[in-house]
Symmetry: none
Amino acid sequence: MIVEIIAVGTELLLGQITNRNAAYLGEKLAESGFDCHFQVVVGDNLDRIVDAIETALGRADAVIMTGGIGPTQDDVTREAISAATGRPLVFNDEFADHLREFWRSRGREMPESNLRQAEHPRGAEQIANPKGTAPALALLHDGRWIFALPGVPAEMHYLIENDVMPRLRDAAGVEHVVMSRLIRSWGRSESQVAEMLDDLYHESTNPSVAFLASAAEIKVRITAKASTESEAAALIAPYEETVRERLGGSVFGADTQTIEQVVFDLLEERQWTLATAESATGGLIAARITSIPGASSIFRGGAVTYATDVKASLLDVPEEVLAEGVVSEATALFMAEGAAARLGADVAVAATGSAGPDPQEKAVGTMVVAVHTPEGSGSRVLRMPGDRERVRTYTTTAALHLLRLALTGEWWER
Amino acid sequence: MIVEIIAVGTELLLGQITNRNAAYLGEKLAESGFDCHFQVVVGDNLDRIVDAIETALGRADAVIMTGGIGPTQDDVTREAISAATGRPLVFNDEFADHLREFWRSRGREMPESNLRQAEHPRGAEQIANPKGTAPALALLHDGRWIFALPGVPAEMHYLIENDVMPRLRDAAGVEHVVMSRLIRSWGRSESQVAEMLDDLYHESTNPSVAFLASAAEIKVRITAKASTESEAAALIAPYEETVRERLGGSVFGADTQTIEQVVFDLLEERQWTLATAESATGGLIAARITSIPGASSIFRGGAVTYATDVKASLLDVPEEVLAEGVVSEATALFMAEGAAARLGADVAVAATGSAGPDPQEKAVGTMVVAVHTPEGSGSRVLRMPGDRERVRTYTTTAALHLLRLALTGEWWER
């Protein structure tokens, strides 16, 4: 079943609010195995909303509309559905009573204009909306469902979960399950990953394989459709194995696991504590680690040694090492070792570099990460593209990934 | 001029990412007085992208596309523009060289598949994309502009501001100027600000006054339309004066000025250096300060003292103070003073607290900020709503604002 989403609201077109509803609806539809080919945003304009509904009815089996069902003059979703389907608006006494009662119960008089909300296209059902007053509608027109829901997220979520999705699943006779597995990797480019998995991408339809790149991370998504969860899982398993085998050590986690969570888990497992030593990243590594609830069980603390002499006074980096270069592997290694010693931690990660916009010693984007563990120490020079913000963020992510490779011992094995 | 936005990406339809680009583009178009009637999201499917482009060309004067121009097999925006306009794809040697050089400069070999990115519909111009590798396109087809931009926000923003908007303004022969001034405040709620400026909001149309709330900050936007920039500026000036007068010390800056930039400028002006001491915020304050290019002229460094004993060993907070409570004004004050002394800074800001999800000493959301300057020291207990991430972010922002009030002396005057 193909479902199209139409969000109504000039404030969306003007960028005054972000269309988070679309992401929510997309996820809900995908979970139930419905296809969504188009999401459309249209302003509070009758003709253009009619246009959007007609187009959607021409290419989808169901249309979910959000917004434009309030009491004010610019709320014209009801009128648009009426025009697009040729069903006149009729007044619903029962709902008018319901509206009056709602206002009365709050000790206020209902503005007469609110009675517009009691009108709906002939044949439409009122959907109960216990989270608000805007009356949502469901209309089965020529074998296609049209839903008009409020744009307020809490109300819309409730109606989707309790009314719309059950109706759609019934209509589609859905008996299958759609399941996705996300394999997360770091250290290879999107095109490298795509080349390594080219055959899976092209040859497979169920499960299907897709690539997603965000920040420095490449995700491989394996999606299977089957009649039960365990059958879907069984379809996914061999693909996951192949993906993990081919991508090797660059895979660090799956689904919602973040690199900081993976690092946290590895440290807890080994009962090692962590310290950070940062120059160019200026506290970002420590901030990522401490974003995890309960970080105090593994994290001792960190030093942000921005000025050169602070690297000596706070982390005991020898003056002669600093004199040879602050953006260097030697400095990074001493920073890591100094942080472990001064903060009483088993493990330390350090980052220094030239984040820009003006170069410091080395070309902008030259960054150095070092890791110290009870099993060894190592450093790596990285070249990061982009502006200051991106260089710092990517270096932070890289430092966490290198820390992972040190904790699993993969770094020392290479 | 009517501009339509097409976002390409199955991940958008599946709700894996939120379409923030649409809000950004909507705002930019509105600022320049362009109309946007439809925003469309379509998946990585050639036929449907072609369909979306054809529909857009039928009802808009320009089409801005984001996403689908990467190197992988599912990036088909180039092919779709070619099909929709009947312009065959041609190979651009110059850009191919550029791509090869980009990879070479990073010491890596370019996968051959990346050469797809050097193809573009005949007649299209390559737009330089200094923020990334994906080659953006601009094509004037039958008097209508079509732009294909990367979906990565930083790259897209750069190209919109530096290439797309100037081209569209030229094409539209825009002769009036729309100018906005953003007055930024902190410390009052949106409804307080709205009440204090109620008459301006209701009585004015040119300039118009609007309120925007984001994180803890309330922004007042004054927008004027005039035939020249100086006329628009003259319309805005008296409104800005009134807004600043009424909101007083809660105004910290204007337009793109961030609180960290304001703090940086105040420190530079006084030739004072800064140190940070963080517990619950875990490095976020230092990270915000060091996000500013040239931060080293005022920033000495910071200590992230997460474990209690590290607050003593690194910042000399007396054991007896720690024994009485880590989430306390006394601890925060000692942290600030210790950071100033240990890191050799004139000024220090410290934050400690209970960020959750589990309470630490005090209820979740109880946060303490302290500031030390050569003119005095002060601390403040804050109650922050929301989850761990929000508590940490809001506390970081609050710490920077309190630091500003200390640097301007407003704190001590109260």
